[in-house]
């Protein structure tokens, strides 16, 4: 046990060291110094992984928030805070990683004052900005609880529902818009991945992977902090995953059949192989594991299912933004060593911050906030004593 921890510590230090070097190289030289990007292939690993996957993998935040606050499913509250923290950190990391990818990162604030409502990226930028603010507010109670600021919690209680609602709408918009980014270049995208439904496919796959990420998160935090895993809750998440995967299977099958792209899936090309690997990991394998092998009731198998589905999701985003485009422009793009180091470093940084936050803030406390309002500590705060009615 101890050795494993020290191994991860050494790995973390090594990665962050390399990340520091990569950062220096990136900002003292141009993009050409650290990336394999080119005029015919201007978006690479950082867009595919750090941004498209980063935003998608953080979708658990709005999904679980909607389940607990809008649908009133209180029993899922134990996984709410970890999901929101993951989403909040996820979005902060996306913005952080964006600073490496942008040619002129010091102009990153320009969309605030320079508008182009016809640009999908303008819309994504605004949604991400607003939603990160929403996530900060959704996460704030953990901090206020730590600081024992009762009034903050009361104010927060009043704005929760509109906040969560705004979060769900903003997420719907930008999760789907990340797919819309590719609508304007049909000629550049291999038919196995181009679809007019890209925005819908991106949204549904994000909801699915958000559920899977809740399971994956629980696994990591159980290993890192020795926490018990709430198997009865995760089992439900396993079952919830079925729906988005079924919708994805139907939509993609139907769409490829209609566009005639399906024939290309049976050609002997690397694209076809990657296509089937993606479909297998993101849809077929998890569906079979849950429906045939009852994975949702078998802890180890459930973990495997969730990991496969996350892997399939990542491969999907990489396929849309790298495989499908390289198949037509033939730039022969493959990420450089430093591109990988920076992506890896960003993820590592996220894990370190998550672990630190989980250590010092009440992330894993299961009772609803309101239960804690009864504690006398809030009485001497100027907040009014909660009425029985409000405690529900």
């Amino acid at each position: 046990m101890k050795r494993r921890i020290s191994f991860w510590r050494v790995a973390t230090v090594l990665i962050l060291g390399a990340f520091a070097v990569a950062t220096y190289l990136r900002f003292t030289g141009g993009l050409a110094r650290v990336t394999n990007l080119s005029d015919s292939f201007p978006w690479g690993l950082w867009v595919a992984f750090d941004i498209l996957c980063g935003v998608g993998l953080a979708a658990g935040g709005f999904t679980v928030a909607a389940m607990v606050y809008l649908f009133g499913w209180e029993r899922y509250r134990p996984v709410l805070r970890p999901a929101i923290l993951t989403a909040f950190l996820g979005y902060l990391l996306v913005v952080f990683a964006l600073l490496f990818d942008l040619g002129k990162p010091w102009n990153v604030w320009h969309p605030l004052v320079m508008y182009n409502p016809h640009s999908v990226m303008f819309e994504v930028g605004w949604c991400v900005m607003l939603y990160t603010t929403v996530l900060a507010l959704e996460f704030a109670p953990s901090v206020w609880q730590k600081l024992r600021w009762g009034r903050g919690l009361l104010i927060w209680k009043r704005i929760t529902v509109p906040l969560v609602l705004a979060g769900v709408l903003l997420s719907t918009l930008h999760q789907s818009s990340l797919g819309s980014l590719f609508l304007i270049m049909p000629q550049k995208i291999h038919p196995l991945w181009f679809s007019n439904l890209l925005p819908i496919l991106f949204f549904i796959s994000a909801v699915g992977v958000g559920l899977a990420m809740v399971i994956v998160e629980s696994y990591f935090s159980s290993r890192a902090f020795g926490r018990e895993i709430e198997w009865h809750l995760l089992s439900d998440f396993g079952k919830f995953m079925i729906l988005p995967m079924l919708i994805m299977a139907v939509l993609r099958g139907f769409d490829l059949f209609q566009s005639g792209g399906l024939a290309l899936a049976f050609a002997a090309t690397p694209e076809a192989a990657l296509f089937w690997l993606e479909i297998g990991l993101s849809i077929l394998a998890p569906l079979v594991l849950i429906l045939v092998f009852g994975a949702s009731d078998r802890p180890k198998l459930l973990m495997v299912t969730a990991f496969l589905s996350v892997g399939g999701f990542i491969l999907n985003r990489i396929n849309v933004s790298i495989t499908a485009i390289d198949a037509t422009v033939r730039a022969g793009y493959f990420p450089s060593f430093w591109e990988v180091v920076i992506s890896l470093g960003v993820v590592t940084l996220g894990c370190v911050v998550f672990a630190t936050a989980a250590k010092y803030l009440p992330i894993y406390e299961n009772e609803p906030l309101v239960e804690r309002w009864k504690r006398p500590v809030y009485v001497w705060e100027s907040a009014p004593a909660p009425k029985r009615d409000a405690v529900s």
Partner: protein, 247 residues
């Protein structure tokens, strides 16, 4: 007034005077480059016996301007699509979106800019000709209003039907451009993509983007309704439970 350029590949002699004039005008080191680059906003590519001038097509509905999140690229009333490096944040969506693969990026620079032809917009507004037009010794490029250039192109095709394919590249493609190309062989043979279709590319995005108001209002109303029903039901259940326990 909307201007345009007419490129006649049957007249081009591949002397590269256009590239030299362009590099001089924009302060790049004058040196021959066979393809577009960050230091060559225009180039002449040999395809068999034909020389094909490559440059920004200055679309009527430019993809680059439509995707730019900060409107650093913009279609001017005079026709050229121009770029403001002070506004650009370097997302390179324009490079990804351009159907003609024109914009180039200064990958080696710490303060990188997009490089593409601006049809010498600053000269046009001063009433001067674009630098390349002035420099071309073979009259392979002609400058005038978009209407004039289309008429001129039609005239050349009609008066020499054996010399030209009966089509003006740029008249309808992706909704029309402000650069027209004439050729004696099918455009695909000259490396010009003729399969892009006549629909302006930004319309593809707009189909999705224009649904946002509906998603927000209908989605918001639906979820508010759902929340109201569920919340009310939960409260009713709780108050009933409370009465029972107090009895």
């Amino acid at each position: 007034m909307s201007y345009a350029l007419l490129l006649d590949t049957t007249r081009c002699i591949g002397c590269m005077a256009c590239q030299e004039a362009c590099q001089t005008e924009y302060g790049f080191p004058v040196h021959e480059e066979k393809t577009l680059s960050a230091t060559a906003r225009t180039s002449v590519e040999p395809h068999g016996d034909t020389y094909v001038r490559r440059m920004c097509m200055h679309c009527e509905s430019p993809s680059c301007a439509s995707v730019c999140p900060v409107a650093a690229l913009r279609k001017t009333p005079e026709g050229p699509v121009i770029y403001d490096e002070k506004v650009c944040m370097g997302c390179r969506y324009c490079l990804a979106a351009c159907p003609f693969g024109v914009p180039r990026y200064e990958w080696d620079s710490v303060t990188p800019r997009v490089q593409k032809c601006t049809m010498c917009h600053h000269r046009i507004v001063e009433g001067k000709l674009p630098a390349c037009v002035e420099a071309c010794p073979a009259e392979a490029v002609t400058f005038g209003t978009r209407k004039e250039m289309l008429a001129e192109a039609r005239l050349r095709i009609m008066s020499n039907p054996d010399q030209y394919v009966p089509k003006i590249y740029g008249e309808h493609i992706v909704g029309g451009t402000s650069v027209f190309v004439l050729a004696s062989v099918p455009f695909e043979e000259l490396g010009l993509n003729d399969k892009l279709g006549d629909q302006p590319m930004p319309e593809l995005t707009w189909k999705a983007l224009s649904k946002i108001p509906e998603v927000v209002t209908l989605g918001g109303a639906f979820m508010m309704g759902l929340f109201w029903i569920i919340e009310r039901r939960n409260r009713n259940m709780k108050s009933q439970g409370g009465e029972e326990s107090s009895q």
